[in-house]
Symmetry: C2
Subunit: 331 residues, 2 copies
């Protein structure tokens, strides 16, 4: 029989369809080995040498002609940093101006430098740029939250194959972040402990869902994972806001992130995926109970009418089996 | 500049990316006209003549050899109706047994009988079976909610192309339904009015987002639509639970649903879509403030890291433009 599991962090129930569960190897795409890309594409705006094709550069590691990571404005920005934040409230119709920030972080000069193939230090550079942009953007008091995320592959919603991440700052607190704060607060009030600190402690004790354990970070498939190989990477030190990460932790996150993504890359033949950094809303001081984390969602199952219409997920992979499989993958 | 709009029903903010908005015609798939399917496929378990390939039949309209609509158990059920409902609660790990119901409603004997091509009376038969199954399943006191939904096309998560819907009964209240109840309750407490009754009245007055208005139902693109051509079909009469629909309303829903889906079919070249029926949780009596509705989500944009990680949506189609386009589509 199937089992329903409750996700404390998101207040969601997941159906673990054990009767129709797939073995980890069943998820391997038919397409065979990871796609081979060229190092340079003349028409790619993110490739080294094509810098004039991007909008204004905001930050860079390295020199102009030999950069490592660049942050630029998104040419097709969903939100604009110019203008005043004005709220309209007319009965059931509420709106506000689309004030915000939408940046692109170009992770590497080479077109084919996907994250699992980089050096640890190169991944650390990417995270350093995340932190620099987070700190710069949060100074603008019009914004309530910053979301850093990555779309890898067409089914994860990317149109450009050159490795890049994005940063969006929003003038309202996104609903998921509100929900996570509510859940963390309820747990803290009842148990006098941070929910994610407790989860890490329990997961490290149980060991069955762990993928990678570093000095400062741990990656694992959560007990109530919403979809196959859905992963969390969590700092061991209690921190509400991502920008509090220190340099030693950046290096360990780089290593943990790379190792974890490598296991997807080699074990599941470079699946499309998204990752998102969940950090404390900018104007909140609830550092005691909120704990930031990164979630990685491989896009190897489809959201269908049941998921879209109920907010409940059907996961056809058992988290403990998925974790055991990924632990065994050696690049 | 873009605009953020607030969705009162779901408590979500949507970014209307007007700067990068597409014109309705831009969403037309490159694939050209709707796919042509055969009337019968020898290996399709849902085609007339292949009835032995489905699990146990639960209900049927028509005779055994000349049926119109059939409801059968799902061969790959996510939940099972056998067994006791047992809850386990061990600190941060909470689960319950996967007790529930997972049925398939085969909408027509013919493989190529997609909904926009049916007679109104044939669509009414499908809705009658929805109602019959809803009433039959709700008698089981182990269940908290019933979700009826349809996945049309591969990107909407279907693996079988023969037209069919599904019904799932769950032993917990799904989070989206909880959220919608909370929102409706808050509005009712403040305004002494049902939120959806108010929305229908305002939309019928504004007219700009209406697609179809029947005697008992109205379909429109909501003010804060989450994605391009995201639609709601709502009964004009206040009803919390779907099973309260009467026969006259079934006929009008059939007509409104068919007309609305036809506009997607002819105007957007048969896009993949999901629809879901949002009805009152089974054990609740809040008929005063909850109002059932059907939401239709064409799958013509990808959910990416921002949506998955924030719960906020970026919609590249302006609801008023989308509605004007669909109103103009004549089958």
């Amino acid at each position: 029989m199937s089992e329903l599991r409750y996700n404390f962090v998101s207040d969601e129930w997941v159906v673990l369809a054990t009767d129709r569960a797939k073995r980890p190897k069943d998820f391997l795409k038919d397409t065979g080995p990871p796609k081979v890309l060229p190092e340079y594409k003349p028409d790619c705006p993110f490739c080294a040498g094509n810098e004039t094709k991007t909008p204004l550069e905001l930050f860079r590691i390295g020199s102009k002609d030999s950069w490592k990571v660049r942050a630029v404005y998104n040419k097709f920005a969903a939100l604009s940093s110019r203008g005043e934040l004005i709220h309209h409230d007319s009965g059931i119709y509420r709106s506000c101006s689309g004030v915000g920030v939408h940046e692109v972080i170009i992770e590497h000069p080479a077109h084919n430098a996907c994250l699992p193939l980089l050096q640890d230090a190169e991944v650390a550079d990417i995270i350093n740029v995340y932190q620099q942009r987070y700190c710069a953007v949060r100074k603008d008091k019009r914004f309530e939250a910053i979301i850093i995320f990555k779309n890898h592959g067409p089914s994860a919603g990317t149109s450009l194959e050159h490795p890049h991440s994005q940063l969006i700052a929003t003038p309202v607190v996104p609903p998921q972040l509100n929900k996570r704060r509510d859940q963390s607060f309820k747990f803290y009030k009842n148990k006098k402990s941070c929910l994610l600190c407790r989860i890490i402690a329990e997961e490290l004790k149980a060991k069955t869902r762990i993928i990678e354990e570093g000095k400062s970070f741990v990656s694992f498939i959560p007990y109530a994972a919403l979809s196959p190989f859905h992963l969390w990477i969590i700092p061991k030190r209690h921190m509400g806001s991502f920008d509090l990460i220190n340099q030693e932790e950046v290096l360990d996150l780089a290593r943990t992130l790379k190792e974890t993504l490598s296991k997807l890359y080699y074990g599941l033949a470079d699946p499309d995926y998204n990752y998102t950094l969940h950090s404390l809303p900018l104007k909140k001081g609830e550092d005691d109970y909120f704990h930031w984390y990164l979630s990685v969602i491989p896009r190897i199952s489809q959201l269908a009418g049941f998921e879209l219409g109920s907010g409940m997920f059907i996961n056809t992979s058992v988290p403990e089996e998925g974790a055991a499989f990924l632990r065994g993958v050696r690049p």
